[in-house]
């Protein structure tokens, strides 16, 4: 009876599994990520390369409004580097100056990432009516997570001959509906990596997906390492409780 109930529960939980991306899209490629698994952690070198890809390519169209420049210290940058990085951007100061006028200043590490467009209308106007979504949470916001994002970025292909599509849309078998408004953002050598890594489309997609995953789950490493300790403790503790229970009940019949 126990077994049957457990099976039932397993069935329940499977049912609850997030519904996979639209039926008409190809299943995402399966990638071995360093952040998968019980001891999952981020590959700092890849995060830094991914940040470079975001900054030099994606940031032209996509914001990441939930990140602050100071968060980049997580990637292994020094405070001075982050300060220098932030100061390339301009933000409006929160308070007016002494004359009561609003003014712009260079961004500080405490400022949030500056978005490329002031509002949705401007973003759509520059992208043929399509809206490039903010990427701060994109990996969590898509069924398939990092595998899906990687697949979309590296998965553009020649459209099938018989497919009629408007010029503004691009064929991508991994995107639900298979026609995506984003032009293929990555080409071989799109950025020049400082560490000499060869910038193939696969490599670029891999690095930027790592970066986006970190942006979506910045606490993932703390989560997994705390989890390991908690589970270990609970295993030992439950073992003790079982022993105590056996002892307490040993005289009952």
């Amino acid at each position: 009876m126990k077994k049957a109930l457990i099976l039932g529960l397993v069935a329940c939980s499977l049912m609850a599994a997030p519904v996979q991306a639209a039926e008409d899209a190809e299943a995402p490629k399966s990638v071995d990520w360093s952040f998968d698994g019980i001891f999952g952690h981020y590959d700092r070198a890849s995060l830094q390369r991914g940040m470079q890809v975001y900054k030099e390519v994606c940031a032209a169209c996509h914001g990441m409004r939930l990140l602050a420049y100071r968060n980049l210290m997580d990637l292994g940058y020094s405070e001075a580097q982050v300060k220098a990085f932030a100061s390339q951007y301009e933000v409006q100061n929160e308070d007016p100056n002494d004359e009561g006028e609003m003014f712009n200043r260079p961004a500080l590490p405490s400022d949030r990432f500056v978005s490329p467009f002031p509002n949705e209308q401007a973003a759509r106007a520059s992208n043929g009516g399509a809206l490039p979504p903010d990427l701060s949470l994109i990996v969590k916001a898509r069924a398939g997570g990092a595998d899906y994002i990687y697949s979309v970025l590296s998965g553009y292909a020649e459209a099938p001959k018989d497919l009629k599509k408007p010029d503004t849309l691009h064929y991508n078998p991994y995107f639900p509906g298979q026609l995506i408004a984003m032009p293929p953002p990555l080409t071989e050598g799109a950025v020049e990596y400082a560490d000499g890594t060869k910038a193939t489309v696969d490599q670029l997609s891999y690095d930027v997906t790592n970066f986006l995953t970190w942006a979506s789950s910045p606490k993932l490493e703390a989560q997994k390492s705390t989890g390991f300790k908690v589970v270990l403790f609970l295993l030992v503790f439950t073992g003790l409780l079982i022993a105590v229970k056996k002892k307490v009940w040993s005289a009952v019949h």
Binding site: G8, M15, R142, W249
Partner: protein, 425 residues
């Protein structure tokens, strides 16, 4: 209640004026429990632990959360990113809701299997159903708070159901919303109620346990305790046994929190609510899926009742029917152990609920509407037709003469031997 005399002067002083120590001694230390209880009797205690954990984590979340449509989503991300251990608190709370429902559903099916709803425990059971309703309301409103796409559209779809009520439907919906659509007023009242209801649940749980302490616990044999040889005091026996279950349960909960925190959620809810963009597939959380299937089961008007209204009525009826269950089941025997026919139908009902959940998770296309209709029909058939008839025609197996006899027989040990049986199903 017998008063104790305590050696410690302070304790004695307090107990003479407010006998809380005597009370605890009577209701906890010495409270007689059937000694044949199996691990399915852990789940009431587990539910209590989850309830407390939900309240504690919820209060911390409330310190950092902002109930406004323009800030709610970002404030949740602020908790995830900037608040110390905010991610932990939020993941415990979010997965805790699922754990709560798993535990309580098992607790309820335990009651169904062992006939815990029968005399003299009818009121205890009915109070339990009230708890279930309150939990559902709390969980539903809590899910709206992060103000993601599923929060918004889930709230919209479910509140819209009330528009099916003839004549006053539209007004009721506007009254619930506090406006002409799901908006800031709706978010604010849901927040207020989501904070309030758990404390109402605490109150009802106190009644639940008070009622339990009048009748005492049922047990896997479904027969009454006849004397001290049938029972053990709650402490230390069930303190020890419930703790084992708690350890295992916390392991499962932790596995979700640390290694699959978003598995039970929906990716769409990491997109901020947008009234102009309808998600392709609106689904509630897993624990509401069977009810969602019942809601959508009726696709045709029944006589003068519109299909939509019929679905709403059936959905509420599917829980309300539990209130009259003690009188629908006509069998005098409680436990399925001694009900050779009902035992099978118990499993059919469980499978029916899982199937309904599966239907609820899918778009109402292809064969799903038909399966949903059959599953819904069966659910009500089970309670309204099968149970009343079965009690009359089924010949139960002979009941053991006492709990202690049953324990010795099951453990296979001769009376007097020291067999460490916690009893098992």
């Amino acid at each position: 209640m017998e008063k104790q005399t305590y050696n410690n002067a302070v304790v004695r002083w307090i107990d003479d004026r407010l006998p809380i120590f005597s009370f605890m001694d009577h209701e906890y230390n010495q409270f007689p429990m059937p000694k044949n209880l199996n691990y399915w009797w852990n789940f009431g205690a587990l539910a209590t632990v989850v309830l407390v954990a939900m309240i504690v984590t919820g209060i911390v979340l409330a310190m950092h959360y902002t109930p406004h449509t323009s800030m709610a989503f970002d404030s949740v991300e602020h908790i995830m990113r900037d608040v110390n251990y905010g991610w932990l608190i939020r993941y415990i709370h979010a997965n805790g809701a699922s754990m709560f429902f798993i535990v309580v559903y098992i607790h309820i099916f335990r009651g169904l299997y062992y006939g815990s709803y029968k005399a003299p425990r009818e009121l205890l059971w009915m109070i339990g159903v009230v708890i279930l309703l309150l939990m559902m309301a709390t969980a539903f409103m809590g899910y709206v708070l992060p103000w993601g796409q599923m929060s918004f559209w889930g709230a919209k779809v479910i509140t819209n159901l009330f528009s099916a009520i003839p004549l006053v439907g539209e007004s009721v919906v506007e009254w619930l919303w506090g406006g002409y659509t799901v908006d800031n007023a709706t978010l604010n009242r849901f927040y207020s109620l989501h904070y309030l209801l758990p404390f109402v649940i605490v109150g009802v749980v106190v009644l639940h346990i008070a009622a339990l302490h009048v009748t005492g616990s049922n047990n896997p044999d479904g027969i009454d305790m006849k004397g001290p040889q049938d029972s053990v005091p709650f402490n230390p026996y069930f303190t020890a046994k419930d703790s084992v279950g708690l350890g295992v349960f916390l392991l499962i909960w932790a596995a979700f929190v640390f290694y699959a925190p978003d598995y039970l959620g929906h990716p769409e809810n990491y997109i901020e609510a947008n009234p102009l963009v309808t998600p392709p597939h609106i689904v509630p959380e897993w624990y509401f899926l069977p009810f969602y299937a019942i809601l959508r089961a009726i696709t045709f008007d029944v006589w003068f009742i519109e299909a939509k209204l019929m679905g709403v009525l059936l959905m509420f009826a599917s829980i309300l029917v539990l209130f009259i269950l003690p009188w629908l089941d006509t069998s005098k025997v409680r436990s399925c152990r001694y009900r050779p026919i009902y035992k099978w139908f118990f499993w059919v009902l469980l499978i029916d609920c899982v199937v309904l959940g599966w239907v609820g998770a899918n778009k109402p296309e292809g064969m799903f509407p038909l399966i949903g209709l059959i599953g819904t029909g069966y659910y009500f058939f089970h309670f309204l037709i099968l149970l009343p008839i079965l009690g009359k025609i089924e010949t139960p197996l002979p009941l053991p003469t006492s709990i202690s006899e049953s324990v010795t027989r099951r453990s296979g040990a001769p009376a007097g031997a020291t067999a460490a049986t916690g009893g098992n199903a």
